[in-house]
Amino acid sequence: MSAAAPDRGARAAGPREAPPPLVVPPLFRYLLRLGDLALVLGQRLGEWVGHAPVLEEDLGLANIALDLIGQARLLLAYAGEVEGRGRGEDDLAFSRQHAEYLNPTLAEQPNGDFGETIVRQVMLDAFQLELYERLASSRDEHLAAIAAKAVKETRYHLRYSSSWLVRLGDGTAESHARVQAALERLWPYTVELGVEDELDRDMAERGIAPRLADVRTAWSKRIDEILAEATLERPRDRPYTWFGKRGEHSEHLGYMLAEMQYLQRAYPGAQW
C-alpha cells in the first residue's frame, strides 16, 4: 500500500508478517475487510452469551451476533470464490493468521462493560449501515445482493444499539460517565473507518464500493445525531490511527482468534 499512512512511526514497531506471496485479487481483500468486520464483531458479541445483564439482553445481543456471523459467511464464501484457490468460508475464518485479518481495529476491541460494548456497536452499526446501503447498488451483483440483505439486519442493529446508548448517556450520572469514558477510549479507533487507501479508491473507481469519504461524512452526521440525543460529547479526532484493515491489529485480535480457531487448529477439518 503506497497510500498515505499517517504516522506509521507513531505505532509500536514490531516484527511484521510478510504479505501473502501470490497476486491477490483486490476484490478478495476488499471482501475480507467486510467479512472480517462482521465475523470479529459477531464473535465479540457472542462472548456476552450467558453474561448479559438480563436475559432479554442476552438474547438481543446473541441475535445480533448471529446476524453478523451470517453476513460474514456470505462475504467470506464469496471472497473464497473470488480468490479462486479453493478456500471456503471456514478456511478463511478458521485458518488465517491474525495479520491476514482485515477488519477495522475497533471491531476486535474487548467488550468491556455493557456500555462499552454498546459504544463499539453504535460506531460499527452506523458504519456498516452507511456502507451496506451504498453497496446495495454495487456494480458487483453478488456483493450488491449480500448488502441488500444485510441492510435490513443492520438497521435493526443500529436501532437497538443507539437506543441503548441514548438510555445510558441520558440516564444516571454513573451510566453517563461510563459511556462517555468508553467513547473516549474507543474513539481513536473510529478514525480508521473513514481513512481511504489505495484499495478503497480502486474499489470506488470500479463502481464496486462507494467512496469512503461519502460513507465517512454520512457516518459522522449520524453519530453526531445519536450522541446529541444521548447527551454525550464527541471526542476530538487524534492525529494517528490504527490500520486493522491492512492487517495491522491491536494485541486483542490474537487472543480472540486463539479461542475462536482453537478447535479447527487442534482438529483440522473437524465437522459436527
Binding site: V54, E56, L59, G60, N63, Y156, R159, Y160, S163, R167
Partner: protein, 108 residues
C-alpha cells in the same frame, strides 16, 4: 443507590430494581388476531417491543407485536371461578350443535 425517605439505608428490595413486566401478543400473519405468547421485562414500551422482537419472533413467528404492561391487565379473581364459570357447565344448548344445517350451505 441513594438513600431516600422510604429507604433510609439506601437499599431497595430486588423488586424495585427490576424492570416492569410486559405481556406480549404476536400476530402470526395478516388477518389473524394477536395471541398471547409470554411475558418479559423491559424498562419501557419501546424496549418491550424490541425485546419481544428478539425473544418471540426469531423464528418468523409473527408480523406484529402488542406489548401491554402486566399491571394494566384486569383479571378475574380465581376465588370467583365457581360463581363465574360453573353456571355455564350445564347449559350445553348454548353450543350451536342442535341446528340442522341445510345442504346448500357449504361454508358454515
Amino acid at each position: 443507590m441513594e438513600p431516600d425517605s422510604k429507604h433510609p439505608d439506601g437499599k431497595r428490595p430486588e423488586s424495585e430494581h427490576e424492570w416492569p413486566l410486559f405481556e406480549i401478543f404476536i400476530r402470526a400473519r395478516g388477518g389473524l388476531d394477536h395471541k398471547h405468547v409470554g411475558s418479559l421485562h423491559a424498562a419501557d414500551a419501546r424496549m418491550a417491543i424490541e425485546h419481544a422482537r428478539d425473544l418471540y419472533t426469531r423464528r418468523q413467528e409473527g408480523v406484529s407485536i402488542w406489548a401491554v404492561r402486566s399491571v394494566d391487565i384486569v383479571a378475574s379473581d380465581p376465588q370467583d371461578a365457581e360463581s363465574l364459570f360453573e353456571p355455564a357447565r350445564d347449559k350445553i344448548y348454548r353450543h350451536p350443535t342442535f341446528y340442522q344445517i341445510p345442504d346448500e350451505v357449504k361454508t358454515l
